[in-house]
């Protein structure tokens, strides 16, 4: 009877090796995608943030065009926001009858694809 009791106590205190392996496997299966998605979403949050900054810079660039008389296509300029350099560029095309199509593009760092782009038409004062 005593021996049986000891054996029962031992069974309650520990996990069989197989049980440990199964637990680790389950944890790995669950945690891996969680960590993956977590990391990916953190990147997306950063992307949204960058896109929002770019949009605001594009709006600012567009306001420079809308305010005052438009005589020539503005030069590109750089801005530093949160230790990143942003480039705001203008593209102008003559639509005839003194109308100019102006496209404002915002690039982050040396990226070749714009993060934000806005387009409008303004009158040329010339």
């Amino acid at each position: 009877m005593i021996i049986l009791r000891k054996s029962a106590v031992q069974e309650e205190k520990g996990l069989a090796l197989m049980e440990v392996l199964v637990a680790v496997f389950i944890l790995a299966m669950v945690l891996t995608p969680i960590i993956f998605y977590f990391g990916r979403n953190l990147n997306k949050v950063a992307e949204v943030r960058s896109a929002s900054i770019a949009l605001n810079l594009a709006k600012e660039g567009m306001e420079r065009v809308r305010i005052g008389e438009f005589s020539e296509c503005p030069d590109s300029y750089d801005k530093t926001v949160d230790e990143s350099t942003w480039q705001i560029t203008y593209e102008c095309s003559d639509l005839g009858t003194s109308l100019i199509k102006v496209t404002v593009k915002v690039f982050k760092g040396s990226a070749t694809d714009p993060l934000a782009e806005l387009v409008t038409i303004v009158e040329s004062s010339e």
């Binding site: 979403n41 929002s52 567009m62 496209t103 387009v119 409008t120």
Partner: protein, 323 residues
Amino acid sequence: MIVVIIALLTLIGGLVLLTSTGYKSYHFSKNRAQALYLAEAGISRAIREIKDNEDHDEDGGVGSISEILLTYSDGSLAGSYSVECVLGGSSYTLTSSGIVNKGSENEVERKVSAKYSVPGGGEGIEEFRHIASYKTSCSQCLIDLGAYETSNMPIPDMDFFRDNADYIHESGFTSEEDELTGVYYIQGDAKLRKGTTLKGTIVVDGGKLTVEKECEIDPSESPDSYKRDFPAIVVYGGTGEVTIKKGIEENETEIHGLVYASDSVQTNKHCSIEGVIIADEIEVDEDNKIESEEVSPPGFLGGTPLGGGTVTLVPGSWQELSQ
């Protein structure tokens, strides 16, 4: 263990939701900004039509714009804009609509309205009927063919013409010579006899002007270079009438420049006008050759609302109509 996993899943779910909302919010903000700039693009186009007094988009009205698409630099569609134009008193009210993602559930529309005044108008100005005829060839279809009608008749600056006159006649004038040059300022009635050539401008203050057959008026031949863009004829006050008599086929009467009459302009057969007619009433013969020139001659108070004329935003009139 299970509690930890549920907590992590909740965290990741929240993060996904947050990111998704962030993306939606960004796209909505971007589309709203783009829709506003599309609406502004419409205003720019409408103003250009009004300044040029020309229906550039051929939608049947000066100042109104039927739907036009605008693309980004890579050719993808940014959206569309359209403008309604209402003329009231001395100003145009433009209502421009910019739309992004038209027809989809993500459609964003912004409408802006602004009032633009044209020169010569303003508070206290009596209602006039002002017609500038462009490329019109018959009296019956004057309006249909692009005549421009507004309540703000331009007012000539008679002091300007008097100050720049080469000859001043204070009690009427009838041409005696075949060739005249310079700016003639006449008080009372004036007549250019048959075959008279005027290399300059004739201004009649408080009377009427009669132009007989085979005459030619051409301010661009004026000896003073700065007077070469003057109007050809200005008749203001008094009866304010211009009558161009019937010409002959072999040698028609030719007017090269703007013809202004505060009352009426009447032309007859074999007459060619290379310029704009501005008058309260215009009656031109259907055989007349009338062509516009996109000019804005000097000598009008506030300029003329013709080609190159100024159109200015009425301060405080810009407003957004819908969010």
